[in-house]
């Protein structure tokens, strides 16, 4: 069965634009703002949002990408490695963090990311931005900025495509 496109290129751009505007609304002045993208696609989305903020405000908001593999709750042997070298690791203490991922599903990735962030510092606040919220949470986690709510069945798969590595911008339901 063919994939069903739920966000096309134009609506994906609009979703990122709206998230950016909402981030501005809730972070007056944008001082102490740090965007943290969860690898893989969250990183690209974080850079896109930083590009948009720069277009509007002329200021580059710092972006950090984190790999949360080692903080997952289904991997017994944590070794608390964020996959970042010293130069890539930003000071997040007393910063307002916007954590960015492509899809919010069970919430377990976000829990791992929160763990990873708190492992390297003590941010003032952490907010969550996701391109797609597909429901079926297993943890008490809610996004502050949502590109699109897509109600899904448990067994469906949501695939986010980004230009940087997938050659197009789209969100599809994969059967």
């Amino acid at each position: 069965m063919a994939n069903k496109e739920v966000l096309d290129n134009a609506s994906l751009q609009r979703a990122l634009t709206r998230i950016t505007y909402e981030i501005i609304e809730r972070n007056k002045g944008g001082e102490d703002l740090v965007l943290v993208g969860i690898k893989t696609r969250g990183e690209f989305l974080a850079h896109r949002i930083a590009d948009r903020l720069e277009q509007l405000e002329g200021v580059r908001i710092p972006v950090m990408a984190i790999d949360i593999t080692n903080f997952r709750d289904d991997i017994p042997d944590h070794h608390d490695d964020l996959g970042l070298n010293q130069a890539e690791r930003l000071n997040i203490s007393e910063k307002n963090i916007v954590l960015i991922d492509d899809v919010l599903f069970t919430g377990r990735t976000i829990r791992a990311a929160l763990d990873a962030l708190i492992h390297i510092g003590r941010p003032k606040t952490i907010a969550l931005a996701v391109l797609v919220d597909r429901g079926h949470r297993e943890l008490p986690i809610r996004a502050d900025f949502v590109g699109k709510n897509i109600p899904t069945a448990q067994n469906e798969k949501i695939k986010v495509f980004v230009q940087e590595i997938d050659g197009k911008d789209a969100v599809e339901i994969v059967h």
Binding site: Q13, I24, K28, R52, Q55
Partner: protein, 359 residues
């Protein structure tokens, strides 16, 4: 029959009369759109004005039931180069000439519109009259005529009315609404309440809107009472708000920006407009004699979201603290390119988001 167009600066143009054989006064402007004359002459933003069309042939599409932007046209006159007498309207019920006769609006054709537009580009809009004889008496009459600045009062609704739907509840504050806005809201199945611009804050909030639209409208927004600005200042904090055209200008004024007349007015759909955040460029219908003065914008309150790439004029604003934004151009695409209709998608996504977080 031969008739005359006289401008306030004394310039006279000759042409042949069509539509109503009446004498008319109004402010003359020119329009560069190549399609959509019916929507343009029925758009309330042109209340009290005479429109010169740059498009050389006007009238070939007839008059259609689906192309009205208001029930009654508010223009005072129409000046074209060539009038198409044969309508291709399949129903052939109505053509432009008969339509104007019915509404007592005079037209003039066989006019050297290129020369006229070049002249107006230099002088800017001015008072004008269409008369049979261009004598001193007609010129005196024109000079003595005082044009109204009550265009919003002429075109906006006096009483609230509903345009029911089953979706989100949208309150439209009417400053001389064009139908295109209601048509777009219908596409989203919105449950619409249209309120007069004299409405109080309480009257709006009692209706518990999911979103608020400040409509398009004619004239200079500074001629409206200050109560309108107070209304906007409160409403923008209560629900997602979208200002369009005059609504955009009022949104700017309510947030302490000022307006300045454009040296060359925008009436057409040939200006590229850039969405600053995404750098995307598109075209949309414009109808503006004023623009928000870029230097007057308090960046702590507002930021610019769209810009006209021909003269840099501000085409969109957004509030820093509230989900309130506005566009100078007309995103309802009636007439005009469809690209700008995404503004309504943005608005409804903002409304959904707001409802999600506030219920």
């Amino acid at each position: 029959m031969k008739r005359h167009l006289i401008l306030e600066d004394g310039t006279v143009f000759e042409g042949l009369g069509f539509g109503a054989h009446a004498t008319t006064f109004g402010e003359i402007i020119f329009h560069t759109a190549m399609t959509g004359y019916q929507e343009i002459i029925t758009d309330p933003i042109y209340d009290g004005q005479m429109i010169v069309f740059a498009m050389p042939v006007i009238g070939a599409a007839g008059i259609h039931a689906e192309a009205y932007e208001s029930v009654k046209p508010a223009i005072r006159g129409m000046i074209v180069h060539d009038l198409a007498e044969v309508s291709v309207n399949r129903q052939r019920r109505m053509n432009l000439d008969r339509f104007l006769k019915q509404h007592n609006i005079p037209g003039l054709y066989q006019v050297d519109t290129r020369k006229l537009i070049r002249h107006l580009r230099e002088t800017g809009p001015q008072k004008a009259t269409i008369v049979d004889f261009a004598d001193d008496h007609a010129v005196d009459q024109l000079v003595a005529t005082v044009l109204t600045n009550k265009q919003v009062q002429n075109t906006a609704t006096l009483k609230p009315y509903a345009n029911p739907g089953r979706g989100r509840h949208i309150v439209v504050i009417d400053f001389g609404l064009k139908h295109g806005i209601l048509r777009m809201l219908g596409d989203y199945d919105a449950n619409v309440s249209v309120l007069p611009y004299t409405t109080s804050v309480d009257e709006v909030l009692t209706l518990d809107p999911d979103g608020i639209i400040l409509s398009t409208g004619p004239g200079d927004p500074r001629s409206l009472p200050d109560s309108v600005l107070t209304l906007i200042r409160v409403l923008q904090t209560k629900a997602p708000l979208l200002g369009i055209g005059l609504g955009h200008e009022l949104f700017a004024l309510a947030n302490d920006a000022t307006l300045a007349p454009l040296s060359s007015e925008h009436h057409g759909m040939n200006h590229p407009i850039q969405e600053i955040i995404s750098r995307q460029i598109f075209f949309a219908m414009q109808g503006q004699g004023y623009a928000v003065d870029n230097d007057s914008i308090d960046r702590k309150k507002l930021f610019v979201t769209y810009r006209d790439l021909v003269d840099g004029a501000v085409q969109g604003l957004r509030h820093r603290e509230y989900p309130a934004f506005s566009v100078q151009f007309f995103p309802d695409a009636a007439p005009g390119p469809l690209e700008a209709t995404a503004v309504f998608a943005d608005f409804f996504e903002t409304v959904e988001d707001y409802v999600e977080h506030h219920s």
